[in-house]
């Protein structure tokens, strides 16, 4: 359930993959945070995540939450992007048999969910196989 403000403030992350890099120890956070988990410092600079990586683990969701029920079955996975940052998203345009840890992926902009018939449309990143 995404209300406008909740959706809108994550746009730099969902649309442009903007992350925060600790200026002290270099650890990258996606989404950005206020304090570095590794070194405790509080200064960051904006970095954009790379749009390619590989699949770390995955599953196929067959019983979906209500907002996604018309998309089931769909694959989801954790991917590790080229700079080591990991994130979770659906894996689109893939045969479920193709899924395996290590498969190369790239990021595409997709329509992630609709807030019902009359609510806002929510966009964001998904993984697609790098063919």
């Amino acid at each position: 359930m995404s209300t406008s403000a909740r959706y809108w403030r994550e746009i730099p992350q969902r649309y442009r993959l903007e992350a925060a890099k600790c200026t002290s120890c270099g650890k990258i956070y996606f989404p950005p945070r206020l304090t570095c988990r590794a070194c405790g410092k509080r200064e960051f600079e904006t970095v954009v995540l790379p749009d390619t990586g590989k699949l770390v683990t995955y599953t196929v969701i067959r019983v979906a939450p209500t907002e996604f029920s018309d998309q089931a079955p769909y694959a989801v996975g954790v991917a590790e992007l080229d700079n080591g940052v990991r994130l979770t998203a659906q894996v689109a345009d893939v045969d479920f048999d193709e899924l395996k840890p290590g498969m190369p992926l790239k990021i595409e902009f997709r329509r992630v969910r609709d807030e019902g018939e009359a609510g806002i449309l929510c966009y964001g990143y998904k993984f697609v196989p790098l063919r």
Binding site: I11, Y15, R16, Q71, Q90, E108, F109, L121, K126
Partner: protein, 355 residues
């Protein structure tokens, strides 16, 4: 043409995107008891692209624009106008262009508007960007033609209504193709329309041919050729709006063009009609094979009715950027997966779901 170089806008970058899913004419015909071979012959169509539920005009516009940006090699923050033309904008009220602008980082200093005019909404976005660049109002403009149009189940349009996007970055310098001239030809002709709250468009049958498509495409093509003082044989290529496989070939012949001039941009037999993406995508496929110095004629068509015409001259820079992003016909031919009618109906939200 030499003297107007200083003023001349050009295509700096281009890109196209289509979903992977395809459905064959036979698969649709089977469900409605229609005669597939005669549809295939009559419309010169084999299969069309189908968007997945997570793809729409906006998502395809973003992906096509990423390719255009790769070829343009510019910082998106410099884009001064973002226009998306479509007849299937995801919202009835709320622009597609703002989502595209955010996704590529062209916010906040850019003019944004959504365009519509049936299938010529993409070309008119290009037309307006060119004018703004020529007039010195913006440094770069982004024009996208994208659609995920629907055809009513069992109707002739269901065989051709497809999904795709083409994106162009227009600017003054370092173009891959200079815009030599633009022209537009338009009348009020109710050949194809959709009323508010109706799911599917309606069309006027055979009236969509001669008084609509052919009148405006030939009117526009002849008009622009006269304006620049050129004849069909002066062009290396011609791209016409492609509602099916047959019409662009027929109008080309009527105007005096050869098949070979039209073929590189002739995507509809295996792509379908991508509506606002139609002639724009045809242009990207043509640029993928064009050589420096080639002249290209492009004439779009939007029901209602009107045609936008463009004459382009390809520059040396095409050789440097052509391969930097996927080529349209390569993607069309190689990266695809076939679906059945049930999956197609599910993806296109034609099935009535529980409340």
């Amino acid at each position: 043409m030499e003297g107007s170089e200083v003023r001349m806008a050009g295509i700096i970058g281009y890109g196209a995107y289509m979903p992977r899913n395809r459905i064959k004419v036979e698969e649709i015909a089977k469900v409605w008891g229609a005669d597939a071979p005669s549809y295939k012959r009559g419309l010169m169509l084999q299969e069309k692209s189908v968007p997945s539920p997570d793809q729409d005009t906006i998502t395809m516009a973003v992906e096509a624009t990423k390719y255009a940006l790769k070829r343009a090699g510019i910082d998106p923050v410099k884009i001064g106008a973002v226009y998306v033309g479509s007849e299937s904008h995801p919202y009835a009220v709320k622009p597609s262009g703002t989502v595209l602008a955010e996704a590529i980082g062209a916010v906040p200093e850019a003019h944004c508007a959504d365009f519509e005019f049936a299938c010529k909404a993409g070309s008119e976005a290009m037309f307006v960007c060119m004018g703004l660049v020529d007039g010195g109002k913006i440094e770069y403009g982004l024009a996208v033609g994208a659609d995920t149009s629907q055809g009513a189940p069992g109707d002739a349009l269901e065989y051709s209504a497809a999904a795709g996007a083409a994106s162009f970055i227009i600017g003054k310098n370092d173009g891959v193709a200079k815009v030599v001239e633009t022209y537009s030809f338009m009348t009020d002709t109710p050949d194809f329309w959709r009323r508010s709250y109706m799911h599917y468009p309606r069309h006027a049958g055979r009236f969509t041919g001669e008084p609509a498509y052919f009148k405006h495409v030939t009117g526009c093509a002849n008009g622009i050729m006269q304006k620049v003082g050129m004849k069909p044989e002066d062009f290396a290529y011609a791209v016409f709006h492609q509602p099916n496989g047959k019409f662009p070939m027929r109008v080309g012949k009527m105007l005096g063009f050869k098949k070979e001039q039209i073929e590189p941009g002739w995507l509809s037999p295996t792509l379908g009609n991508t509506y606002s993406g139609s002639s724009p995508m045809g242009l990207t496929a043509t640029l993928d094979v064009a050589k420096p110095g080639d002249m290209i004629l492009m004439v779009s068509y939007g029901s209602g009715s009107g045609s936008d015409g463009f004459v382009y001259q390809v520059t040396d820079r095409i050789d440097k950027v052509r391969d930097v992003a996927p080529k349209t016909r390569e993607k069309l031919d190689s990266d695809k997966v076939y679906i059945d009618y049930g999956t197609y109906a599910k993806y296109r939200r034609k099935i009535r779901m529980g409340e």
